[in-house]
């Protein structure tokens, strides 16, 4: 393990140090440096402090652990690898990610999983332990978004306008979602046992990471949301 003290370094200097590092590494004293580990492959990174925006952008099979909150655009367009956040994440997490995993212990801001997609054998997975803000899964085109609604403190599991423009992938919300309004082009229904089996593997991994019981998590009511059609915009402007 190599330790990089980021306290007085700007994002370029930190990222250069990361690229030169030959082993796994720890960044300490992080405070807002952006683009950490962008495009990185084959390394493990632990961050102490607050990483800046676009943490793990274009990540290509590295593992990042953050022991605090993360800011906006975590895992922007990531391809492979895993980002583990022991806190909350800001807005637009997993923007257009096409592979890899983002596991969050706390809450997500607005637009988590916006434009998430899938590519060949790659299926991106985002698990949010707490609640998600509005526009969750906006324009989702592939992959799996799971929101667990742990430590809700009386809030709704997701804000307004979830799944706006969703046309692919799946979303699981650990809630009966009676108060949630979904748009017309998706179907939200209680998840069947076999659908929950599809996500057991991810949840088991999540439980190992954060110390929860998978059976307990799966015992809650789950709502699964899927788009209705492969071509949801066929009649957006004119019937043809």
């Amino acid at each position: 393990m190599q330790i990089i003290d980021a306290a007085n370094l700007d994002y370029r200097a930190v990222n250069e140090a990361l690229r030169e590092a030959e082993t796994d590494y720890i960044i300490k004293g992080c405070c807002g440096q952006r683009f950490l580990a962008a495009g990185m492959s084959g390394k493990n990174l632990i961050i102490h402090g607050i990483p800046g925006n676009a943490l793990g952008a274009y990540l290509n099979n590295a593992t990042i652990t953050v022991n605090a909150n993360a800011q906006d655009a975590v895992g922007d367009t990531m391809n492979e690898g895993k980002i583990l956040i022991h806190g909350n994440i800001g807005d637009a997490a997993g923007y257009a990610m096409r592979g890899g995993k983002i596991y969050v212990q706390g809450n997500a801001g607005y637009r988590a999983g916006i434009h998430m997609k899938a590519y060949k054998e790659k299926i991106p997975v985002m698990i949010i332990g707490g609640c998600a803000g509005s526009f969750l899964g906006e324009y989702q085109a592939g992959g799996v978004i799971i929101v667990l609604g742990l430590h809700k403190d009386g809030r709704r599991i997701v804000g307004n306008f979830p799944c706006t423009g969703m046309h692919g992938g799946k979303m699981f919300l650990r809630d009966s979602c009676e108060e949630i309004h979904f748009p017309g082009q998706v179907t939200a229904k209680p998840a069947a046992a076999e659908e929950l089996e599809e996500i057991r593997e991810y949840l088991s991994e999540y439980c190992l990471d954060f110390g929860y019981s998978v059976d307990e998590l799966l015992s809650g009511p789950f709502t699964v949301v899927t788009p209705d059609s492969k071509n949801p915009y066929q009649q957006m402007y004119a019937a043809n």
Binding site: G32, D72, G90, D91, G109, G133, S134
Partner: protein
Amino acid sequence: MKIEGQIRIPSGCAISAAISRDGKKMSGELIAGSMKPMHDRSNGLGGGFAGYGIYPEYKEFYAFHMFFDSRDTRKQCEAFLKERFEIVQSEIIPTRKIPEITDEPIIWRYFAAPLKSVFTSLQLEEKEFVAKTVMKINAEMPGAYVFSSGRNMGAFKAVGFPEDVGVFYKLEEYEGYSWTAHGRYPTNTPGWWGGAHPFTLLDYSVVHNGEISSYDANRRFIEMFGYQCTLQTDTEVIAYIMDYLLRIQGLTLGEAASVIAAPFWSTIAAKTDLEDQKKHTYLRTMFPSLLITGPFSIVLGFEGGLMALNDRLKLRSMVVGEKDDKVFIASEEAAIRTMEPNAENIWSPAGGEPVIVQVKEGAFS
């Protein structure tokens, strides 16, 4: 020169604020330091601060902070002011010469009280008279700009990166119970001294990250009430809208937030609290032209408090944190951690959800 698209310009304005609910004073150095981790959100074309409670020795007087392009302009403006105000102090605002900040105008301040005989003969209330004076100077006196006109508060702004602007204005010499800050990355309008944030009128100040799609609709409406947008930057209109809604119309802060970041009609229709539904329907119907569309996160400063607000779609980031009597607001958590490493209850308000922090009654001066 390469343009955006050929190169990536990773930026998008930065805002930050700190307030003590107990009215305890904080040095301006604290807020200036908070802008450092957000350096890349600005591009050096504007930075600024507003401090409240910074002029206790002149707290009865309006503090006019002014830019002048020449000594003649200053003389003319001073003659104009003397017909309407008693000026008790007139001085250069102290600055440091640093290589990061250049081409400064003449930066001056007056502490002044409006002449009662003048504003009563005009049948104007005192604050209205001061506001009208500010508008008149900014619109009709070429080369003279009032960039701050409140009591016991002041704005400090310049072309440069915000942390350098803090050094330039010697902010460490001021102490306030509340501060706001801005780092600018102008997208549509020129980066000039008057266009830096905060934008102010009387004791209201606004720092803003975003751009106002509805600017011209808002401007046309607000100019019907005597406000004049002269500073070539969209944020200016927010300052005047807030003055109009709060001071002229007497709305509460929460109501004003519901006007400028009104929920969608569908969201209003889905409300189960019928009183709340009625209130939002009323406000959207009364002030449709003051809905501000487009992305924004703003902090409004006023005497005794702050209000932070995101646009209803929350297209800009904003984080709030607390520690003891202090509340911190910033575009990024990193900025809050710079001011208070042990800040607690870090959270992101929802779009259109105002965060109002007020100093305890009687605790600010």
